[in-house]
C-alpha cells in the first residue's frame, strides 16, 4: 500500500498540489493513525495533511476521486472457461490464458504492472494517449496473443472469434486506464504550459477563449504584487531608541531611565493614481488594462483610478462596487471606444486629481499616447510630473512605433520617470513590481 500512496502523492503533485517530503511523511503518519478501512476518514486525513489552501482542497478531491476509482476490470465475453482461482496470475499466465480464463483480477494486475513499466504515469499531454495504450498492450503480450488468434483462425477454431472479441475488450480497458492517467497527470501540466504561453502573448492578440485564463492570471499576479508591496510598506516599523528624550526624561528620576522613548517613524502611506486609456486605438488591450486596474485596486490600499478616451472620469466607485466583469463593461460603456484626446483627458485628470498630487503620489499612465493630432497639453503633463513623485507610462505599443503617425509618445516621454513598452502580462508584472519597489516611498 505504501507504493500506492506514493503514486497518489505523485498524482497530487501533477495536479498542482505541492507536497513536500515533510508533508509526505505526515501523510504516512496520518494513514498509520487512521488506517485504510474507512474511505472517508482516509480521505479527510490525507486532505488535512496535504492540501494547504482552498484551491488545493478542490484539486485534492478531484485527484483523490480519480485515483482511487480504479474500477474492477469489467468482465467481457463468455463466462470463464476455467473455474476462477485455478490459474495463478503470477505473471506466468499469458495474456491469452488470462483472457480465456476470464481472470479479471489478473488482467488488472498485469495492466498496472505494464503501465508502470512503460511509464504511463509520466504522461504529459493528452495526445500521447494512444501511443501509451499501444506500448502497454505490447508489454502485456499483445503480439503473442495476436499470433495465437491467427493460428487458431487458420485452424478454423471458434476460440479465435472469442479471443479476438476479448482482445477488443482489452483495448477498451487499456484506453480507459490511460485516460484516467491522463486526467491525473496531464491535465494540469497542459494548463501550466498554456498559462506560460499566455503570459508572454501580446495583449492585443489574445484570443477570445483565452480571456478566462488570462483573467485568473492577472488576478494571481496582482495578488502576488500586493503581498510583496505590503511587505515593503510594513518594514521599518520597529523604532529606534530616542536617546535624547529618554535621557532628558530620566533626569526626573535621578538619571535612571524609567521611561524609555522610541523614535517612531511616521508612516507615509504611498498613493497611486492610475490613468487608463480605454479609447478605440487601444481597444484590444483596454480590457486587460482595466482588468489589471481592477485587481490592483483590490490589492493596493490607496489607489485613485481614472479611465479616459476623450474625457477622463474617476472610476474608483465602479471598481469598488461592481464585480470584475460588470466593472469592465460599465467603464467601457461609460467612456470607452471613443476617439482619444489626451489633452482633454489630462485636463480632466488634473482638475479632478491635481490638488491631491504630491511627493507621495506615483502616477501610472496606461495608454498608447495616440492623441488624434489634438493638443497634447504638455504643460499639464509637466505640472503633473513636477508634483508627483514619479510618473510611469506603460505603452502597449512597441517602442519603434512611438512617434509614428499621431503618437505623441516621444513628447510625453520627457515628463515620465519611466516610459516603457509593455505588451504582455509578463512585462506588465515586471514593470509594476519595479514601480512598486522603486518609486514608492519606503515607509
Amino acid at each position: 500500500m505504501q507504493r500506492t500512496l506514493e503514486d497518489f502523492l505523485g498524482a497530487l503533485r501533477a495536479s498542482d498540489v505541492r507536497v513536500s517530503p515533510a508533508e509526505a511523511i505526515d501523510a504516512f503518519r496520518a494513514v498509520f493513525e487512521v488506517g485504510y478501512g474507512d474511505r472517508e476518514l482516509f480521505r479527510d486525513a490525507l486532505c488535512v495533511t496535504l492540501a494547504k489552501s482552498a484551491e488545493e482542497i478542490d484539486r485534492f478531491e478531484v485527484c483523490f476521486d480519480i485515483f482511487f476509482a480504479r474500477d474492477e476490470f469489467t468482465r467481457r465475453g463468455a463466462e470463464p472457461a476455467l473455474p476462477p482461482g485455478s490459474p495463478t496470475p503470477d505473471g506466468s499466465a499469458t495474456l491469452a490464458e488470462m483472457l480465456s480464463a476470464g481472470d479479471s483480477a489478473g488482467l488488472a494486475q498485469a495492466m498496472e504492472a505494464s503501465a508502470a513499466r512503460v511509464g504511463a504515469g509520466d504522461i504529459q499531454l493528452r495526445t500521447q494517449r494512444s501511443l501509451i495504450v499501444r506500448r502497454m498492450l505490447d508489454d502485456m503480450g499483445l503480439r503473442a496473443l495476436e499470433a495465437q488468434i491467427g493460428a487458431l483462425r487458420e485452424r478454423g477454431e471458434v476460440e479465435a472469434d472469442r479471443l479476438s472479441e476479448q482482445r477488443a475488450g482489452l483495448f477498451v480497458e487499456a484506453n480507459r486506464f490511460v485516460e484516467r492517467q491522463a486526467r491525473l497527470h496531464a491535465a494540469m501540466t497542459a494548463r501550466r504550459l498554456r498559462e506560460a504561453l499566455l503570459s508572454q502573448q501580446a495583449l492585443t492578440s489574445v484570443e477570445l477563449q483565452d480571456f478566462k485564463a488570462m483573467e485568473s492570471l492577472v488576478r494571481r499576479m496582482a495578488r502576488r504584487l500586493a503581498s510583496r508591496y505590503a511587505r515593503r510598506r510594513r518594514h521599518a516599523r520597529i523604532g529606534r531608541l530616542d536617546v535624547r528624550r529618554t535621557v532628558s526624561r530620566a533626569m526626573v528620576h535621578g538619571g535612571v531611565p524609567f521611561e524609555v522613548f522610541w523614535k517612531s517613524q511616521a508612516i507615509h502611506k504611498p498613493k497611486i493614481a492610475v490613468i487608463c486609456d480605454v479609447s478605440r486605438s487601444v481597444a484590444a488591450a483596454a480590457q486587460f488594462l482595466l482588468l489589471f486596474l481592477y485587481s490592483l485596486n483590490e490589492a493596493v490600499e490607496r489607489l485613485d483610478a481614472f479611465a479616459f478616451s476623450d474625457r477622463a472620469i474617476r472610476v474608483n466607485d465602479v471598481l469598488e462596487a461592481e464585480t470584475m466583469d460588470d466593472a469592465i463593461t460599465l467603464i467601457l460603456a461609460r467612456i470607452g471606444m471613443r476617439p482619444t484626446n489626451y489633452g482633454a483627458a489630462l485636463e480632466d485628470f488634473f482638475a479632478l486629481q491635481g490638488a491631491r498630487l504630491d511627493r507621495r503620489t506615483t502616477v501610472i499612465v496606461l495608454g498608447d499616447g495616440r492623441s488624434n493630432y489634438s493638443d497634447p497639453r504638455l504643460d499639464l503633463m509637466r505640472q503633473i510630473s513636477e508634483r508627483a513623485r514619479a510618473v510611469i507610462w506603460l505603452n502597449p505599443e512597441p517602442e519603434t512605433d512611438w512617434n509614428q503617425g499621431d503618437s505623441r509618445m516621444e513628447s510625453y516621454r520627457r515628463f515620465c520617470t519611466v516610459a516603457k513598452s509593455c505588451n504582455t502580462l509578463r512585462q506588465l508584472e515586471q514593470i509594476i513590481d519595479h514601480v512598486l519597489r522603486t518609486y514608492l516611498p519606503k515607509h
Binding site: 505541492r18 476518514l41 511587505r231 524609567f258
Partner: protein, 331 residues
C-alpha cells in the same frame, strides 16, 4: 466577527460549565470528537473532526482558514472546552513582535531592584579579597536580574509553560508581519523557544495550536508545511440548520428551516460579503426576540441589514427576497 464568537461563548457558559468533563476515550475516534464538540455547542463536520483528531494524534498545529464568521475561532474555543484545557489566545495584528507575543523583561522591576539594592552593593563587595573576587560576586548578582523572576510571560510562553498542556489560539495570523510568521516556526515545529539570556524553554506538554487566517495575504510555505490545513466552507443547509438549532434553541423549527433556506439562497448570489454562519445565528436570535413564527417579505426587508453589511449587497438582494422566500418554503 470572531469577537462576536467569543461573546457568544460567554453567553452560553453556564451550559458549558454544567458539562461533565469529557472522557478521554471519546477522543480516540472521529465520531467521538464530533459528539464531544456537539456537547460543547460546536456542530462539526467530519472533516473538522478529522483535523482535530489528527492534530491531537500527530501533535501538529492546525491552520484554520475560511471566511469571516464561519466559526474558526469558535472551533479553538470549543476544542479547549472539550479537552478541558486552558485556552491561551494571541490576537495578531500588524506590528506584533516577540516582546508582545513571547516574553518581555520587567524593566521597571529590574530598575527598581537595582535602586533598592544599590546600598547593599558596598556590603556585598566588602569581603572580596581583590578585584577578581568582587567581579565574580557582581556576576552572580547580575545573573539574578535576567532570571525568570523578571520575565514577563506573554501568550506564547504562557502556553508552553502550562504544565498540563493548553490550547493555543493564534488568531488572524494573516494580519501579522512575515517576520513574525517566521518567528513562529520554532514554536510550531519543536514546541520550544529560545530566549538568549536564559536558554531554550521547552513545553512540558505540547499545546494544541490553532492558527486562524482570513486569507488577507498568502501565508508562507514554511508555515503551511508545519501545519495541518483545515478549510471551513460555508455549511450546507442541513448542517446550518443543526448549528442554528444548537445556538438558538428557542427558535421554532419552521422558522429555522425558512431562515436557513433564505440565507442559502442569498449565498447563491454574487455578493460582496456573503452572510456566514455568525450572521445567520445573529439573525435567528433577532427574529426570536421579535417573536417571529414565520418569515414574510416585509420582515425580511426590515431585518436584512443583520445579514448583509454593504448597501450595494442589500440593494442587490432586495428584489429577490420573494423568490428566495418561496424557494426556502418549498425546499
Amino acid at each position: 466577527m470572531e469577537d462576536g464568537g467569543l461573546a457568544e461563548r460567554d453567553a452560553r457558559s453556564p451550559g458549558v460549565a454544567g458539562l461533565e468533563g469529557p472522557t478521554a476515550a471519546s477522543l480516540d475516534t472521529v465520531e467521538g470528537i464530533i459528539e464531544g464538540l456537539g456537547g460543547v455547542g460546536y456542530i462539526a463536520s467530519r472533516r473538522i473532526a478529522t483535523a482535530l483528531f489528527m492534530a491531537t494524534h500527530l501533535r501538529k498545529p492546525i491552520l484554520v482558514e475560511g471566511m469571516a464568521g464561519v466559526g474558526k475561532t469558535e472551533l479553538a474555543l470549543c476544542s479547549a472546552a472539550l479537552l478541558g484545557l486552558p485556552l491561551v489566545r494571541l490576537q495578531c495584528y500588524e506590528g506584533l513582535d516577540e516582546s508582545k507575543a513571547l516574553y518581555e523583561w520587567k524593566y521597571g522591576k529590574q530598575l527598581l531592584y537595582t535602586q533598592i539594592l544599590k546600598e547593599h552593593v558596598g556590603a556585598q563587595l566588602a569581603g572580596a579579597a581583590d578585584m577578581a573576587g568582587a567581579m565574580a560576586r557582581l556576576q552572580d548578582v547580575g545573573e539574578a536580574f535576567f532570571s525568570e523572576m523578571f520575565l514577563e510571560p506573554r501568550p506564547l510562553l504562557k502556553a508552553l509553560r502550562e504544565p498540563g498542556g493548553a490550547v493555543l489560539l493564534i488568531d488572524e495570523i494573516d494580519k501579522s508581519d512575515e517576520a513574525f510568521e517566521a518567528f513562529l516556526l520554532e514554536i510550531l515545529s519543536a514546541y520550544q523557544v529560545s530566549i538568549p539570556e536564559i536558554g531554550v524553554i521547552r513545553a512540558t506538554t505540547p499545546p494544541i495550536v490553532f492558527l486562524t487566517s482570513n486569507n488577507m495575504r498568502d501565508l508562507g510555505d514554511a508555515l503551511k508545511r508545519r501545519c495541518l490545513h483545515l478549510h471551513i466552507p460555508l455549511p450546507d443547509r442541513r448542517l446550518e440548520e443543526r448549528i442554528v438549532a444548537s445556538r438558538v434553541p428557542d427558535i421554532v423549527p419552521r422558522l429555522r428551516k425558512e431562515l436557513v433556506g433564505f440565507v442559502q439562497g442569498l449565498r447563491s448570489m454574487e455578493l460582496r460579503k456573503s452572510p456566514s454562519i455568525s450572521e445567520t445565528v445573529d439573525w435567528a436570535r433577532a427574529l426570536v426576540l421579535l417573536h417571529v413564527q414565520s418569515l414574510d417579505a416585509g420582515l425580511v426587508r426590515d431585518t436584512l441589514n443583520l445579514l448583509l453589511k454593504f448597501e450595494q449587497d442589500i440593494a442587490a438582494a432586495e428584489p429577490r427576497i420573494g423568490e428566495f422566500l418561496a424557494h426556502a418554503a418549498h425546499a
